[in-house]
């Protein structure tokens, strides 16, 4: 028994180290790939010794801040997905699929349309409001009637809600094309031109979300055994649930405010993580942060190179994540609606 546990723990540590290495590689790739491709060794030199050359300026001025944003947002989305999936005991929970990111973007777009103001500080609060309202709304819709919100119901409710929200968002944008010229990339979920301003604005919120997630991890683990068992183990169920929702709102809202709605990262990353280290959130949390960051970095790097002109990272994230969604749905037993 003791040996088994030790073997399991050492395997988990190995997984964590591998994930960390993957993330470092993804960071270096993100720094070296672009319209002006640089060898990784040169990137490393320029990172440590900026020399004022064009290459150095490109790395420090554009790619480094962009990479940092990708790391923060990807980690946030990965963790938010893990929290949602644990909270709802639902492998299909993802901030994109459940419409939360779409809700955040609609409130931001509406706020811009009404006031004409822009800027990350302004977006943030509306993104939080939209994320909170949408997540509650989707839950209420999926929980209609006597049955509780099953995974399939939640996914369908999310699809319906985000379809309506996305169409309304498009209408608002088309109505005022001038105001939204810069905004169009944001709606597709893009990291182009994102940098320190966005990062410094969202970091406090992401940190609060992370701290909450770490603190309620053990309680969520207990709730994974069912509400009754959780209560018997001393978990304050409504309190834990509410805190988890606050964390999800902070993580998704801040991520969406910074780069726009990005789907499927929060779905695929926790799924891979669970396959590697099991359901324990204390292990899932660090691994989700690492893999979430790597996932979005890879998506963003691919977004720069797959086509002649750059596409939004959200598109690549959907391209990579859609098949994962199909794989989950195929493997699991799906209860009737």
């Amino acid at each position: 028994m003791g040996d088994g546990l030790t073997a399991r723990t050492s395997r988990r540590w190995t997984v964590l180290v591998v994930a960390a290495v993957i993330m470092v590689v993804a960071v270096l790739l993100s720094l070296s790939v672009g319209s002006n491709r640089l060898p990784v060794t040169e990137v490393w030199d320029l990172l440590l010794h900026p020399d004022g050359s064009t290459e150095s300026a490109a790395i420090h001025g554009q790619r480094l801040p962009r990479t940092a944003v990708a790391v923060a947002v990807g980690a946030a989305l990965g963790l938010a997905g893990a929290l949602m999936q644990s909270l709802t005991r639902n492998p299909l929970a993802d901030p994109g699929i459940l419409g939360i990111n779409a809700g955040a973007s609609l409130t931001v777009v509406l706020a811009v349309a009404v006031t004409g103001l822009t800027g990350i500080w302004f977006y943030l609060w509306f993104a939080f409001a939209g994320a909170a309202v949408t997540s509650v709304g989707v839950y209420l819709l999926a929980g209609t009637g006597r049955h509780s919100a099953t995974p399939a119901r939640l996914a369908l409710a999310g699809v319906a809600v985000s379809a309506a929200l996305v169409a309304i968002t498009q209408t608002v944008i088309l109505a005022d094309q001038q105001a939204f010229n810069e905004f169009r990339l944001w709606v597709a979920g893009s990291l182009e031109g994102r940098g320190w301003t966005e990062l410094s604005a969202i970091t406090p919120f992401l940190l609060v979300g992370l701290v909450i997630a770490v603190l309620i991890g053990p309680a969520l683990n207990a709730l994974g055994l069912g509400d009754e068992t959780g209560r018997a183990l001393g978990v304050r169920v409504p309190w834990t649930r509410s805190l988890a929702m606050v964390a999800v709102t902070l993580l998704c809202g801040a991520a969406t405010a910074a780069v726009g709605p990005i789907a499927f990262v929060g779905l695929a990353v926790p799924m891979l993580t669970r396959a590697a280290v099991g359901h324990d959130l204390r292990w899932m949390t660090p691994l989700c942060l690492l893999l979430g960051a790597s996932w979005l970095l890879v998506a963003d790097t691919l977004a720069r190179v797959v086509t002649a002109q750059e596409v939004a990272a959200g598109v690549i994230a959907a391209l990579l994540g859609g098949p994962v969604f199909v794989a989950v749905v195929r493997r699991r037993k799906v209860p009737a609606l």
Binding site: L92, L141, A142, T144, G145, R146, H147, A152, R153, A155, L156, A157, V159, A160, V161, S162, A163, A164, L165, V166, A167, I168, Q170, T171, L174, A175, Q177, A188, A263, F264, V306, T307, A308, Q309, E310, V311, A312, V315, I316, A318, L319, G321, G322, P323, F325, V326, V329, R330, V334, P335, A336, L337
Partner: protein, 348 residues
Amino acid sequence: MSAIGQGRLVTWRRGHRSVRFSRRSAWVALATCGVVLVLAVVGLMIGDYDVSAGQVLAALGGGGTDPLASYFVTEIRLPRVVAAILVGIALGVAGSLFQMVSGNPLGSPDILGFTTGAATGALIQIIVVGGDTDAVALGALVGGLLTAALVQVLVRPHGLTGTRLVLVGIGVGSTLGAINTLLVAEASLVAAQTAAQWLAGSLNTVLWPRTTMLAVAVAVLSACAVTIARALHLLPLGDDTARAVGVPAQRIRTSAVVIAVAMVSVATAVTGPIAFVALAAPQVARRLAGTPTPGIVGPALTGALLVLGSDLIAQRLLAPTELAVGVVTGALGGIYLIVLLAVDWRKR
């Protein structure tokens, strides 16, 4: 089965053929026709150059006194209105066929990703091959059919029913949607503009040649749909019962899916993907007529009404900026889907 709860039934016989329908659905069909006609006339009247109802009728009769009004009515607005009606018929019938095969209101081509797949096929034609209108239609058809085949393979061995089908379809649709965006990004500037406009689902640029093509295709496919509709009604009784009364269940299912995908594809080829009409039209028609299954005629008329009405909203809501009709149906249809799910789940 289909006769239960339909109220008073009327039967028309002529030789060996007979048609049976409820009075209520006949009245509903007539009323829908009337509304479609009124909307069509409104669609011919309004625009950047307003034309009175009298001038519209004169222009349609070929005796218009204002040449500019006649030109706008017969050459610009009429093809658009007719195309809206035809696209609505195609989407409504296709949605009804799918929903009868899958036994699930969510088993619609737009939810299952077939519309997106048809768009992928068409985009490959527009951007990569650079084909003409016929080639684009063919591309849409091939794309839609391949997507249907892919989804069918992915849900094996469970068949085209149930929640798994819906969720697999959503995943396939999201992936194809991302591929569509990539295709547009890869295109040259001119092709990309054509493709992006088309991808939003719009009737803004539809003229007679495409409308004529659409009319022929919709007429042929609707006739096919009507011939297998009666057999489809027997499917809920189970494959064995269906076989006992001489209906080869599996073959009927396959033909229904092929016809429905073809209808979605021709509609998509002309206008681009128009969301949610195939989902909503059969459900609205079924509730209006008070019948257990949607049938064919009701969804066709309701679909025409939805697309025509949405197109008018798209044209006038933010005038002079024209919205894409797909955006309007997306908003209306998404809200309708929310209501549909809530009502359905409340009962259980």
